[in-house]
């Protein structure tokens, strides 16, 4: 990235992952995850250490960027499909009467809780202050403990990692836990690409980048599977319910 240009992709990355930490509804957080992945690929495409080896019309970019973009799209698609198909019921024919009655009871409990409530700012206080803390740490750590070749990359990976960790720590929603984990893996992915491309390092291995992308896709699939199981069992994605019965 040229030092003088405005860092649009970095800004997009910061806002989208911050919104994942802040917002509750999957209809908002999953698009944010997609934007975060696209911005991450765009941010890396602007870095000088990744030489373009694929040309698309007038636009040349690196295979590593393409891999990250495709992984981000795949992960967002998996989570979107999962969220859209929660209402489907699977394997009911194998259940005995006790299981079926338990499902009916869970559905009634979830219905009672699903009554729309008015907007309450207090519900966002914890995540908001977590975001402020993550922002403060991400701005401070690149000065105290620089690791990547440039402060912007340091800010990006610290921010992604911290928002991911705070998302996991503050949410009680299964899908958001998955998104937090994906932000954390995105963070190390970014750092690896930046560090391994350095002049003294061994160079970026497309195999390692592809494998990390596969980890992200596998993680999204497992989170989707667990979300399906949780919703099928309790008709909600709230993790608090797991410990109530």
């Amino acid at each position: 990235m040229t030092s003088g240009s405005f860092p649009w992709p970095l800004l997009g990355l910061a806002i989208s992952s911050g919104l994942i930490l802040l917002l509750q509804d999957w209809r908002q957080t999953i698009p944010c995850l997609l934007i975060s992945a696209v911005c991450q690929a765009w941010f890396l495409a602007e870095q000088q250490f990744l030489k373009p080896d694929i040309s698309f019309g007038f636009w040349g970019f690196s295979t590593v960027v393409l891999v990250k973009f495709l992984a981000g799209v795949a992960v967002s698609t998996i989570l979107t499909i999962t969220a859209l198909t929660f209402s489907k019921e699977y394997g009911l024919e194998d259940l005995d009467e006790f299981g079926l009655s338990e499902l009916r009871r869970a559905a009634r409990a979830a219905q009672r809780q699903a009554v729309p409530r008015p907007f309450q700012p207090g519900e966002y206080a914890l995540t908001f202050w977590a975001m402020v803390l993550a922002l403060f740490a991400s701005l401070t750590l690149p000065r105290i403990y620089p690791i990547a070749p440039s402060p912007r990359i340091d800010f990006a990976w610290y921010w992604l990692g911290l928002t991911g960790l705070f998302t996991i720590a503050t949410t009680s929603n299964m899908l958001k836990v998955g998104m937090g984990l994906l932000l954390c893996t995105g963070s190390i992915d970014l750092l690896y690409t930046a560090v391994a491309s350095g002049s003294q390092a061994s160079g970026v291995s497309v195999g390692a980048v592809a494998m990390l992308s596969l980890v992200m896709i596998l993680l999204a699939l497992v989170v989707a599977y667990l979300s399906g199981l949780l919703f099928g069992r309790l008709k909600t994605l709230e993790l608090n319910e797991l410990y109530k019965r």
Binding site: G99, V195, S202, A208, L229, L239, E241, L242
Partner: protein
């Protein structure tokens, strides 16, 4: 070609087992067939002859081969037990994938790929945790889902920390920037944090008691015996790759030893207060992980010999204990839902296997754990009597916990003995209540338990070949103080 077959064959067969999952017994036969084929392939691979494939170096040494053969043997035993004691419908498919990952990890030299494969193994294990047998007709228990989610989160975070440690190792150059935490210390902290989570060392242990308490026994065995042991081997590889982490770092090694001792003593204490047999077992496993970690942290030949030997023991002991536990918890024909105290009388082979495995974990003679624990106590003695006393104290706590479990669950007098009632006047056979028929111990799991028990005894009585093999491997490790 051999390496490719070793890695790709289990993947292909795992997919086949997934497709055929409704035919549980056919899948078990296929799984055992894959295990036998993999053992044959591993025995064909030449030792210490690296091969480059797609930019990746693959190599097999004697110690890795030993562990791979043990993993495959245990995998085969677990598959055979599922024939008689049903587990999840995808148990064999998932186990084959996990075995493939362990094989690949032990063949690979690239730390980035290894740490990613460890994350993969953790993610795949989640599928086994929430799996139910074919046509089980019940819902997944909420606590099981909670355990699976906790395991997933902690394993991914552990993997992220380990990967981050390796990334920073890539930029590490001797000579530190003044005024900030030295990078080498930061890398050590990241790696230890990651491995402590993965190996359930206190205070990062919370996933293990949940897992052992909630999950089906053979799935726990798969995770602890194969994935955790592979984690220990990767930790050794990490120290070998970055000897600077421990070399000339007395404060660092002291910190690691202290962490290991805290793990052992606290786990021993917690096992005393555990509420169930499974909980006690989980804390004894954490105690043993602390023991192995202590051996590694001493960076001495005797400590590392003890640690590697103990890893072999733990792998076999975990298989023995969990197979026995699976048999002990089978419905036995008596009134269900009651806590029994006569399990050894009711299930003699399973009870003996459970007790034997626990004694092995504690290092009691004549089991193989005795020899490995001797090495570890010796290594502790080299660092002063206080450390040796703490190790012995932890073992004492663990031993008391085992005595409590044995007394309350295994060695009690026989319960629900059928009492013959005198025949009433004019009573015929049809009038009398049905005689209670107790189920016998399943034969094949019982035979497998006896085989594992005997293996532990034989290695305990003749440990020398294993010690020589481990010693030869340790000579090549650069971080060990010879």
């Amino acid at each position: 070609m051999l390496y490719l077959s070793l890695v790709l064959f289990p993947i292909a067969m795992s997919a086949s087992c997934f497709a055929l999952r409704k035919y549980a017994r056919l899948v078990v036969v296929a799984g055992v067939g894959v295990i036998l084929a993999e053992i044959a392939l591993i025995l064909q691979v030449p030792l210490d002859e690296p091969v480059r494939f797609l930019g990746v170096t693959l190599s097999l040494n004697a110690l890795s081969r030993l562990f791979l053969l043990i993993f495959l043997g245990i995998g085969g035993i677990l598959f055979l037990v599922t024939w008689y004691i049903p587990h999840g419908e995808n148990f064999v498919a998932v186990s084959l994938l996990i075995l493939m990952m362990s094989i690949t990890i032990l063949l690979l030299q690239d730390p980035f790929l290894i740490s990613l494969l460890l994350i993969w193994a953790g993610i795949v294990a989640v599928l086994a945790i929430v799996d139910l047998p074919v046509r089980a007709g019940v819902l997944v228990h909420t606590r099981l889902l909670a355990s699976a989610l906790k395991y997933l989160i902690l394993m991914v975070i552990a993997g992220v920390l380990i990967y981050l440690g390796f990334v920073l190792a890539e930029v590490y150059r001797p000579g530190e920037v003044a005024g900030r935490l030295p990078l080498v210390r930061f890398i050590l902290a990241l790696l230890i944090g990651g491995f402590a989570l993965r190996l359930a060392l206190i205070p990062f242990h919370t996933w293990l008691p949940d897992l052992v308490e909630q999950v089906q026994p053979l799935v726990s065995a798969l995770i602890i015996a194969i994935i955790n042991t592979t984690g220990f081997l990767v930790l050794i590889l990490s120290f070998q790759r970055l000897p600077v982490l421990l070399a000339d770092n007395p404060n660092g090694t002291l910190l690691l030893r202290t962490g290991a001792m805290i793990t052992m003593v606290l786990a021993g204490l917690m096992s005393l207060g555990a509420g169930s047999m499974r909980q006690t077992l989980s804390y004894l496993l954490i105690y043993n992980s602390g023991m192995i970690f202590y051996g590694l942290a001493t960076t001495s030949v005797v400590g590392l010999t003890g640690a590697l030997f103990e890893m072999v023991n733990q792998t076999v002991a975990v298989a023995l204990i969990f197979v026995s536990l699976a048999m002990l918890e089978q419905p036995d024909g008596r009134t269900p839902g009651m806590q029994r105290s006569d399990l050894l009388r009711r299930w003699p082979v399973a009870g003996m296997g459970f007790l034997g495995g626990m004694l092995l974990l504690l290092g009691m003679p004549p089991f193989s754990g005795f020899a490995s624990k001797q090495f570890l106590y010796h290594a502790a003695w080299q660092h002063g009597w206080i450390e040796c006393a703490l190790l012995l104290l932890a073992t004492l706590f663990a031993g008391l916990a085992l005595i409590r479990v044995a007394y309350t669950r295994l060695l009690g007098p026989q319960e629900e003995i059928p009492i013959p009632t005198p025949e009433m006047h004019g009573e015929i056979d049809l009038d009398r209540p049905v005689t209670q028929r107790l189920k016998p111990e399943p034969h094949v799991p019982a035979v497998l338990t006896v085989l594992l028990f005997l293996a532990c005894l034989v290695v305990g009585l003749y440990p020398q070949p294993l010690v020589v093999l481990i010693n030869n491997t340790i000579q090549d490790l650069t971080f060990v103080n010879l």
